[in-house]
Amino acid sequence: MKDENELLVEFRDFGFQYNAQAEPTLYHIDLKIRRGEKVLIAGPSGCGKSTLASCINGLIPFSYRGESTGKAMIRGRETKEMSLFEISQTVGTVLQDSDGQFIGLTVAEDIAFALENECVRDPQLHERVRAAASLVNIESHLHHAPEDLSGGQKQRVALAGVMVNEVDLLLFDEPLANLDPATGKTAMELIEDMRRKSGAAVVIIEHRLEDVLHRDVDRIVLMNDGRILADAAPDELLSTGLLAQNGIREPLYLTALKYAGVTVTPQMRPGSIHSLKLEEAQKEKVRSWSAGVGEIPPRKDRKILLQAENIHFTYGNGYKALDGVSLTIREGELMAIVGTNGAGKSTFSKVVCGFETPQKGRIRFGAEAAGIPENAGSWMDLSIKERADHIGYVMQNPNQMISQTMIWDEVALGLRTRGVDEAEITKRVEETLKICGLWPFRRWPVSALSFGQKKRVTIASILVLQPEMIILDEPTAGQDYRHYTEIMEFLRTLGSRGFTVVMITHDMHLMLEYAARCIVFSEKKVIADDSSAGVLTSPDVIARASLKETSLYTLAKMCGIRDERAFVQSFIDYERKNRRGSFASAETASTGTEPGNTEQEGAQS
């Protein structure tokens, strides 16, 4: 007998402080979650939302030690009087790191994991695994190894792995972090589907609000600085300015409405673009706003920096990754390369950097690409190290690049291995640290930095080699809106210093807001090369590249605007005119660099 309204989780004036920390991470938490509810917990990095999740699934107090006050209860029992195992019978957790969560050697073994631990025997063991697999639609992949699955499929396996226990509450920690837009959309649909079928409560920890709201949620719990600031229905919360004030990105359609001077109220049902209701007068406001945004003229053609011609590449194991890729990158561009996993975008960057050698095709760079024959050496003849003097590559996870203890040494490493003399090293490291806003931390160990700051260190360690171009793999992965904006504004300042910046990403907001141009990879080929607004309003490209149409597009249609592309473009231009100036000046002030820094000259020489 299941009580439909049963209280599954209850926090009463709960607080928590990790043993290793000087301050509490959670203060005065009051929260109730009932069976069948769907709750989104949102907040910027470090707001305590992950700690709250650990208090729900029992990792606190059983894995992480600390002091707690007040009460944390699962089904009316205090968690500290239960065991982690008991809690796991009620709460099923899907962690953010899908490779860490995937423990089994194959799909079937991973789904079976919890049952094996409970000593479930055959034939029930096999039956329940099959049932759980078919629930999430992965039963045709039972014997696949994790490396043969896409990110979305791994998440399905993770979900089946907790559903197999028939839990009452599903807890998702940043379920969208590693998924491309279309897969993220499907994931939210799947989660909703699971809730309907099982009647379990769902708790989602995420800062990508608009993507979660693709399917209805009952409540949004907004957190900041360890406190719950709001616990309300989406329609109500989105009508306030609280989200933006606390570093959460509002849905784009709401931002556009606000720009147009429309006051958002709960009665308009702003929780989702699909439920949103606009009156004629409001639509008119949007139309006239968009018409009034002056166009920013596209920048005049710049010199070609890199030219790839008909690149074909097949890995040693016979997997073909690039099938005739041609593209052009111009000097000083800030551009994005997008596409699903396996579309070839990462392989392309490896070919450019010389990590892999294409079987066919040719890449030209610099003078060679610009067609100045006299001083053109061949790019294809350069080694990895020689290419790195011109094109820097920044990996997604800064922890995979950092090998030195001190920030200074990390940034200097590339120069030291190149045998540059110490006086020159000192000069260049100092300059780079200033450009990257790391000057105040120059004597710090790397370990004292936040994830975002570490990312800057890795970018600095590449910039110090004075390349003309840098390629960044998912520069904003795992960042909340504030850190994300920080990194992107920083990259933009690099652009204005003459660096060419290429971002490999599946983040839609990123390309919309920052990339002037966007190259779309699909099925090992380039399928589009257009402005970001153009790509995101082209249904055909969106479908083929597993992207997601922007809600601005839907809003434009709703308001009867014919040229959706122009509408999206005017949104971008409006933001560029009205918001960026302030960010850019803040950047300069905080880093204390003077305009016309020598770094730029060095890069261009």
Binding site: T405, W444, S447
Partner: protein, 183 residues
């Protein structure tokens, strides 16, 4: 902080996987032609110094056995056991160090290296050759020289890579104390 039993089990699994990858794919040419330096013993010493002798022994045992399996030359038990013994012996240093708390200063470096030298000498100078003689009836002078060469090379790698790893890991642990920005 004490590690939970599950964490130790995972550390053994991941440690063995690292040992395997390092032993099988990380080729650093050594001064002796056609031989590579075994970086995996630096890793093993580091893991054992954090997770203790049992984890050390099992990482050495599983990792080494998997390498032998993957080459298909059968398991050379005498050397596999020597790897396990090295892991266990160097693991004894764990209780004298507190790398988990971010402490690994000059004293720690000396203790760690003292232990690793002694452990390597016992593992490759005594255990491996004696087992070779007992199990495989190989000539004594051959196996002792092999042990000597292997042992010295392992001592050097552990001294450099093992120490670097301990220093880096201790530095990455958050320490209390305030850092101030320089202007």
């Amino acid at each position: 902080m004490k590690n939970s039993p599950v964490k130790t089990i995972v550390a053994i699994g991941i440690g063995a996987a690292l040992f395997f990858v390092l032993g099988r794919f990380v080729a650093i040419p050594s001064p002796v032609p056609n031989t590579n330096i075994s970086t995996q013993y630096g890793l093993l010493a580091f893991m054992a110094a954090i997770f203790g002798p049992v984890a050390g022994a099992l990482i050495g045992l599983i990792g080494h056995a998997l390498i032998d399996f993957s080459y298909g030359w059968g398991i050379w038990w005498s050397w596999v056991i020597a790897s396990a013994c090295f892991g266990a012996l160097i693991g004894l240093v764990a209780s004298r160090l507190s790398i988990e708390d971010g402490e690994f200063g000059q004293k720690g470096i000396i203790t760690f290296n003292l232990f690793q030298v002694v452990s390597h000498v016992i593992a490759w100078g005594v255990i491996a050759p004696v087992l070779d003689i007992v199990m495989y009836k190989e000539p004594a002078n051959k196996v002792f020289l092999q042990g000597l060469v292997g042992g010295i090379s392992n001592i050097v790698t552990t001294a450099i890579i093992g120490t670097l790893l301990c220093v880096a890991y201790a530095a990455a642990k958050p320490k209390k104390g305030s850092l101030s920005r320089d202007r």
